[in-house]
């Protein structure tokens, strides 16, 4: 798919606003109300309301059977979801921190991702795995990773990273509809952010990038929490007379690359922003797509990646912010990139 959906750019003045976590919860509630096959399972998703409060009151509304608390057994939980999915249910698994998908990689990668293909189409695995990613909470190296590149690299998985409340709801609804396993990576720092969320069951289609902002000088591609920072940076750059296009792929696999390549062809400058460590990260793929395409010939400057340092996330606040891209760094990198004369 190569179409770009800009209708999701809601006016800030829109009537209905809610937080990112409320949007996730609303999507789950609507899907569960519409379809008995949909249920949620995970650690402390019940009366506790979820480690990040996302499931909230769903336990009270849908009961212990469909908002199912589990023991601390990530491999078992995901495996149970895979089994429930092949047997006709539509499970939504919550993994408390995406770091703990490490415990469940066999069921995610060797089972869920491959079953449909490997069994010749005999079975489908319509499941959703939601997990919070990222740093910024002082939880240190084992609770702060951004592992999207791993999942995006696995054939058979679809991977989304919602960057706004509207997409948090829309992408999740689309993920639940999808007959394939979909990994939904939500950034912890976004849960409390709010924004417009359209009424009703509006889907954000999987595999469609969003152009968040149009500008002629520079193309910024950003994912997850970095989309907001890129938009802030673009606003600041605009005051300096630099107009940036900001593109949010939203779905990392399958990737809708056309809008990115079109924009880079126009601007000649590409800056790629992610929180994850740069080395072999997702933005390497975006860089590769650019230099494999005719857009390469239009580059006025080398592609610039602005990524997390190749280090585990440290605990101390100053160190934690120092190792991932912050607003100033993004603005500085963009300014530098504009100064390059080819």
């Amino acid at each position: 798919m190569t179409m770009t959906d800009q209708t999701l750019e809601a006016p800030a003045t829109a009537e209905r606003t809610m937080t990112y976590s409320e949007a996730v919860r609303e999507a789950i509630a609507e899907a569960m109300t519409a379809d008995d096959r949909v249920f949620m399972l995970g650690e402390d998703v019940g009366v506790y309301g979820g480690a990040f409060g996302v499931s909230g009151d769903l336990y009270g509304r849908f009961g212990a059977d469909r908002i199912r608390d589990t023991p601390i057994s990530e491999l078992g939980i995901v495996g149970a979801a895979v089994g429930a999915a092949v047997a006709g249910m539509r499970p939504i698994v919550e993994i408390q921190f995406s770091d703990f998908t490490c415990q469940a990689m066999d069921q995610i990668v060797n089972q869920a991702a491959k079953i449909h293909f490997m069994l010749g189409g005999e079975l489908n695995v319509p499941m959703v795995l939601r997990a919070p990613v990222g740093s910024g909470t002082g939880a240190a190296a084992q609770h702060s990773q951004s592992l999207e590149a791993w999942f995006a690299h696995v054939p058979g998985l679809k991977v989304v990273m919602p960057s706004s409340p509207a997409d948090a709801k829309g992408l999740l609804l689309a993920a639940i509809d999808d007959p394939n396993p979909v990994i939904v990576l939500e950034h912890k720092l976004l849960y409390r952010t709010s924004g417009h969320v359209p009424e009703g069951a509006e889907r954000t289609p999987l595999g469609v990038s969003a152009v968040r902002r149009e500008g002629k000088d520079l193309t910024i591609v950003a994912t997850g929490v970095m989309v907001g920072r890129a938009m802030e940076a673009a606003a600041a750059l605009s005051e300096k007379g630099i107009e940036a296009t900001v593109i949010d792929p939203r779905t990392l696999t399958p990737l809708d690359a056309a809008p990115i390549l079109d924009s880079v062809t126009r601007t000649g400058r590409a800056m790629l922003v992610q929180e994850a460590p740069g080395h072999v990260g997702y933005m390497a793929e975006i860089a590769a797509r650019i230099c494999e395409s005719p857009a390469l010939y239009r580059l006025l400057a080398p592609v610039r990646r602005v990524c997390g340092l190749d280090v585990p996330i440290p605990y101390a606040p100053k160190l934690e912010t120092a190792v991932v891209p912050q607003l100033d760094g993004i603005i500085a990198a963009a300014t530098e990139l504009m100064e390059v004369q080819s």
Binding site: D5, D65, G83, A84, Q111, F117, L119, E122, K158, P205
Partner: protein
Amino acid sequence: MTTTQTTADPRVGDDPDKARHVLATMWRIRRFEEAVDDLFARGLMHGTMHLSIGQEGSATGSCLSLRTDDAITSTHRGHGHCIAKGASLERMMAELLGKETGYCRGRGGSMHIADTATGNLGANGIVAGGIPIATGAALAYKMQGLDRVVVSFFGDGASNEGAFHEALNLAAIWKLPVVFICENNKYGMSFSTEFSVAVAHIADRAAAYGMPGVTVDGNDVEAVNDAVSAAVDRARGGGGPSLVEAETYRWKGHSKSDKNLYRTREEIAEWRLKDPIVRFEKLVKERGTLSESEVQQIRDEAMQAIKHAVVAANQAPDARADDILDSVFAATTIVSEVTA
């Protein structure tokens, strides 16, 4: 088809129809795997394979306790489970030969055969990989209000994987309709249960999950069927999961590369004398349930069925490569709406 045996019924060795079915199933498994072994030896089949020759009793006795709409998850050593649950020999053979008519369209091979029509949710190349999946399927059936039971087959070695532990605990706390069947053939590849576990029986591990655990002679079809039928009835009745350990033995090497350095010829010879098929034939003849001629006919039919399967599978078209990129994901209505 699978003929179901419940605890209510007479023992399988006393019922001519059941006995015929059981014996025919065991012979089909034996002959199928001998044919596979032969095709590999002659270089007519590629990849790898894990034969269950000598273990036919546990697959057959267990699946006899199940209805067609009950489900199983199987293992890398899954031909027996697959056949006992009622799969087509021709489609299985076609799969192993990489044919388009195979159960996986030639994409999975021996370790990945699934057949929804007969309730086989799939063999698995990952040791213990099917155990959490079986647990989840049982959860689904329970939530759907169906009275289906799921049986999960796995080996002694698999009981040392974390997946075994997590899945059995989930099944126990949720009282799911699942029966865990450990086919203890004494070895996980080359590693003997003498060294790989510190318990006398794998069934002892049921204690960690508050579920019943029982050990039976896996080469005694009736004993296996009795134990599994009891566990299945319990599961169907809402009593929750059980762990059944069937003690048996693998006659052949673990896979092609096995030089059998970890066990003695004597041990293998000893177990060959405990052949579950010979034993069942003797039993039904002694009890007068089946005559020698009936038994011979069953043997012949099994041989014919396999020969036919090999011929038909060989004639089938090779697996298609042209749609491979379109086969990774199941078609998604939502996306097509968008692109439209």
